[in-house]
Amino acid sequence: MVNPGYRHFKGEDWVDPTPPPASLPAVEEVGSTRAPLNSASYFIGSVCSEYNEDFMLCKNESRSPEHCLLEGRKVTRCAIDVLQKIQANCRDQFRAHWQCLDANNQEFAQCRAPEKTYNRCLFAALGWKKAIPDAPADRSLVYE
């Protein structure tokens, strides 16, 4: 990777190829770009809320990266699990939604039509429901 204006400054020079220490249990990384993560975010948030909160409480104790490796692995595994479940059950609707997000600057408001079918499919297949915390009760939900 070469940044514009930095031809002498190769991105490869900044990559440390050393593998992680063997004492660390192996984890798969999520390896997803922004749009699928954005599309799945509310379901990651609701399904993995325990692991996420646990991790953030741990990070609150110390910002050191080695302090919360265990909790972080749980968070990542849970997120991978959610993404795989979405892929297994609502692959086409998921793809339609995240490709729409990618084409519309990650704006949820521009992608309500694919989002509706996607949310409906997930609710039918897995019983997952999107919910924005502290949404005002006297108004209709912004995503419906």
Binding site: W14, T18, P20, F55, G72, V75, A79, P136, V142
Partner: protein, 135 residues
């Protein structure tokens, strides 16, 4: 002049037309109160719509924020793992380089406190590896 009968000026037949002394302002358009009420009505409708539009925009912004909040732990966990790996590799390299110096503690913080401080300088390994050639 004596034999000449006086030629008196007389009004025209049918008399002079009535003299307009009252102000004459014909009614043009709606009254002031009505215009005020119409303008007020338009503004009230605008504010009403704006109220709901702002509420909706607020909700959309909240939706985006929560989407980010839900994936934040995941992103931090991934970045932490990478940072830990790089830091570990850097300390291993430091150990190998400074093995002949007695009393050297590899990876020791420059601060006395226990608070975690990330490295301010990126530790680049390549030029430290054997066989590295600068092109």
């Amino acid at each position: 002049m004596s034999g000449n009968p006086a030629a008196q000026d007389l009004p025209p037949k049918g008399g002079f037309p009535a003299f307009k002394y009252e102000r004459n302002l014909p009614k043009r358009g709606p009254s002031g109160v009505a215009m005020f009420a119409i303008c007020g009505g338009i503004m009230a409708y605008g504010w009403y719509k704006l109220h709901y539009a702002l509420g909706e925009r607020h909700e959309l912004q909240r939706e985006k924020m929560w989407a980010r909040i839900h994936v934040t732990p995941l992103l931090i966990a991934e970045a932490d793992r990478d940072e830990y790996r790089r830091r570990h590799a850097a300390v291993e390299r430091e150990k190998a380089i400074m093995k002949d110096v007695p009393g050297w503690v590899p990876g020791q913080s420059v601060y006395n406190g226990k608070r975690y401080v990330p490295d301010t300088i990126a530790n680049i390994p390549l030029h430290q590896q054997a066989g590295f050639k600068k092109d």
